[in-house]
């Protein structure tokens, strides 16, 4: 597994896309801090960028990379290496490469401009999103045989998480506004990893508004240790379940 990890990582290091991703993030983050002037405001803009871009780039890159390295995977599969190790090595390498790129592109400007708790939460949830969507990307790449279809599915999934889910939830909220739907909204939003990451960051940034009538409820929940634990567990489930399914698919797959 370690060998696969190592060689995939070396391959990824040569990949211009990862470097490009790091530079893009650095450009966006640094640019926002410079243009906005006010670090608190820049952070708010950065949150939206991270929550939209990170899932998209991670998903598409993972899918594309796994398709492109299919021949290498086939080569590995004929060697006396367990399939489990192959996938684990590749996934680990992918995730760590993206995490390193993100640490450089996002973490560094944050550390320079606003080394505080909201920034830490933002980079942590950004990392969580990388792991979640790398796992999902692997699953998509293994499930779909065609690259174009795979990328299409990835885009659809991204669209679903970032936009459609919120729209559906809001529609639900309006449709059932005569019913006591309030306690359901947070758990339903919390199921979506993108929303969860957003809520965690917002609890830090929009603190003043969150102390208002119902924001206080969220604050009490997610601000507590239990809430943090629950949020972390949900993210962990989002990482583990797709990964496990991906492993099962890969085991049985006819390469």
């Amino acid at each position: 597994m370690f060998k696969v990890f190592k060689y995939t990582l070396i391959d990824l290091a040569r990949n211009r896309f990862v470097l490009g991703y790091a530079l893009l993030m650095l450009l966006v983050a640094q640019g926002l801090f410079v243009v906005e002037g006010d670090p608190a405001k820049a952070l708010i803009s950065l949150v939206q960028v991270v929550l939209t871009l990170v899932p998209l780039i991670t998903l598409v890159f993972t899918v594309v990379y796994l398709y492109d390295s299919l021949e290498f995977t086939q080569l590995l599969a004929v060697q006396p290496i367990g399939r489990r190790s192959i996938l684990a090595g590749q996934l680990l390498a992918l995730s760590s490469a993206l995490l390193v790129a993100q640490a450089f592109g996002l973490g560094l400007p944050l550390l320079v401009h606003t080394p505080d708790l909201p920034a830490l939460i933002l980079s942590l949830s950004g990392s969580g999103l990388v792991l979640v969507f790398a796992a999902l990307g692997a699953l998509i790449a293994l499930k779909q045989r065609e690259k174009a279809r795979g990328v299409g599915v990835a885009l659809f999934i991204w669209f679903l998480f970032v936009l459609v889910y919120d729209a559906l939830l809001m529609w639900l909220m309006f449709a059932f506004s005569d019913h006591p739907i309030e306690p359901l909204v947070v758990p339903l939003a919390g199921i979506n990893p993108v929303d969860l990451a957003r809520i965690m960051v917002m609890l830090q940034i929009d603190l003043a508004a969150m102390m208002g009538y119902s924001g206080a409820v969220y604050k009490n929940f997610f601000g507590s240790t239990i809430g943090m634990g629950v949020a972390g567990s949900i993210l962990l489930l989002w990482i583990l379940i797709p990964t496990m399914i991906a492993f099962r698919v890969f085991q049985r797959k006819d390469l």
Binding site: T52, L163, A167, M173, G212, Y213
Partner: protein, 457 residues
């Protein structure tokens, strides 16, 4: 230093009146109460030591001056000092030991129906009510440190409490850990400036039915419910700071049924709601800074003929919210950090109106739990759509001349530029014409007063 200067004219006047100066030591045989009966009108008593004689009543015009470490301890018998005569001065004392009661308003210093009382430089140590002026005229309360006992909520009452007073001056006081830091009811023609009111259970400043009062350069910090002012006419609030008032019903400044108010050059920062305007007429808010609030401005539909000019809205979660369709107020020439328009003619004002009410603001107003969608991509898109094609927000809720740059005094460019430009271009804007000088002046005052405030704290 300040105290010494303030004393100088007093001493001089006593010299003219040939008043006697008495020394009183609490360790001596005589009771302070007996001494008070002996001394003449206009005399001065200097106290040293700890006086423990229950309630002490002052019924003739005298000056009581505490030496270093002088304490009057009421021993929880009721009031501590009761002033029943005009021209009484109480200075430099530590006062403690009021009785806590649910029936009577016991106070550290209670002034009843007197003229020209001076209460200065005292330390009010964990009193129930601390300084309580009832029916006082021309009173001066300054440089007092009023610190309550916040260990039990029921034991708390107001720090500086004025009831039916006229022409009072409340300045340079620090009031904390009381129920209301400063409380006014039926107080008219008074000035409240350079005070600090913080960490109070309820309101930092609370006044009702108090007309023609001026509030300047005060700091209200971290109070349970911020500042609430109600049912008053002709008030002026300048250069105050309303900071960190957080909670569901917590407001930087809550204005209810206020007519003819001037809210100028104030700072609202980190509050759940910065400024709430409910049922007010002719409130004119100018050059205020709203920064990092949950809701910067809650402007209810029952407010009429109010104007908001040259304010800056920076980094708030919501800039403006309202509760109805009606909008009979005016917003003009404010700076909005969310403004996405352009300024082709370079006059410092955006060419397209800014609509501060987004879709999400209205949504949260109707369904507070929708707060969970804050800054989600979907909501941002809807927000943008609502700003472009307003269908839900009141038509009049817009700023036709949004500033392109904040009227920030610190960089010295934003507002100055826009003012001179608008004048030279002769664009006929009614606001800001010829206010350049007065603006600079107010800035100078602001920085100066902050120095003294800081020094005082």
């Amino acid at each position: 230093m300040i105290r010494a200067f303030a004393l100088l004219p007093l001493l001089l006047s006593f010299g003219v009146c040939s008043a006697t100066s008495w020394e009183y030591d609490a360790h001596g045989a005589e009771r302070f109460k007996d001494l008070l009966q002996r001394i003449a009108i206009g005399d001065t008593v200097r106290i040293s030591g700890i006086v423990q004689e229950g309630t002490i009543t002052i019924n003739r015009p005298v000056t009581i001056w505490g030496r270093e470490g002088a304490v009057i301890d009421g021993g929880e018998k009721g009031e501590v000092l009761v002033v029943l005569a005009d021209d009484v001065t109480i200075r430099g004392l530590t006062i403690r030991g009021t009785l806590v009661s649910n029936l009577e308003d016991y106070a550290g210093i209670k002034v009843k129906e007197c003229y020209r009382t001076v209460i200065a430089g005292n330390f009010m140590d964990r009193c129930f009510f601390a300084i309580y002026l009832s029916g006082a005229r021309d009173a001066l309360v300054e440089h007092n440190r009023v610190i309550g006992d916040d260990s039990v909520d029921e034991r708390m009452a107001n720090g500086i409490h004025l009831w039916k007073c006229n022409n009072a001056t409340i300045r340079h006081n620090l009031s904390e850990r009381h129920r209301d830091g400063i409380y006014f009811e039926f107080v008219t023609d008074s000035r409240i400036h350079d005070n600090v009111s913080r960490n109070n259970l309820r309101y930092g400043l609370h006044f009702m039915f108090s007309h023609r009062d001026t509030y300047e350069d005060n700091l209200f910090l971290n109070n349970g419910a911020g500042v609430a002012v109600m049912y008053s006419k002709v008030i002026e609030m300048r250069r105050n700071k309303f900071l960190s008032n957080r909670g569901a019903s917590s407001y930087g400044l809550l204005l209810k049924e206020i007519n003819d108010g001037e809210i100028t050059d104030n700072v609202f920062r980190d509050n759940t709601t910065g400024l709430m305007v409910d049922g007010c007429n002719r409130i004119h808010a100018q050059r205020n800074e709203f920064r990092y609030n949950g809701w910067a401005l809650k402007l209810f539909a029952n407010a009429t003929a109010c104007s908001f000019r040259s304010n800056s809205f920076l980094g708030n979660t919501f800039d403006v919210s309202t509760n109805g369709e009606l909008m009979l107020n005016e917003m003009m020439g404010n700076y909005w950090d969310r403004y996405a328009g352009y300024d082709l003619d370079r006059d410092g004002f955006g060419d397209v109106p800014h609509r501060p009410l987004g879709f999400f603001t209205l949504l949260v107003e109707r369904m507070p739990y929708a707060m969970v969608f804050s800054r989600s991509l979907f909501v941002s898109l809807l927000d943008r759509a609502e700003r472009l094609i307003p269908s839900l927000s009141p038509e009049a809720m817009k700023d036709d001349r949004p500033l392109m740059r904040p009227p920030d005094p610190k960089d010295g460019t934003g507002r100055k530029d826009t003012v001179t430009m608008s004048n030279s271009a002769g664009s006929g804007s009614s606001f800001g014409s010829g206010s350049g000088i007065s603006y600079c002046w107010s800035q100078r005052i602001r920085s100066k007063s902050w120095l003294t405030l800081e020094a005082h704290v």
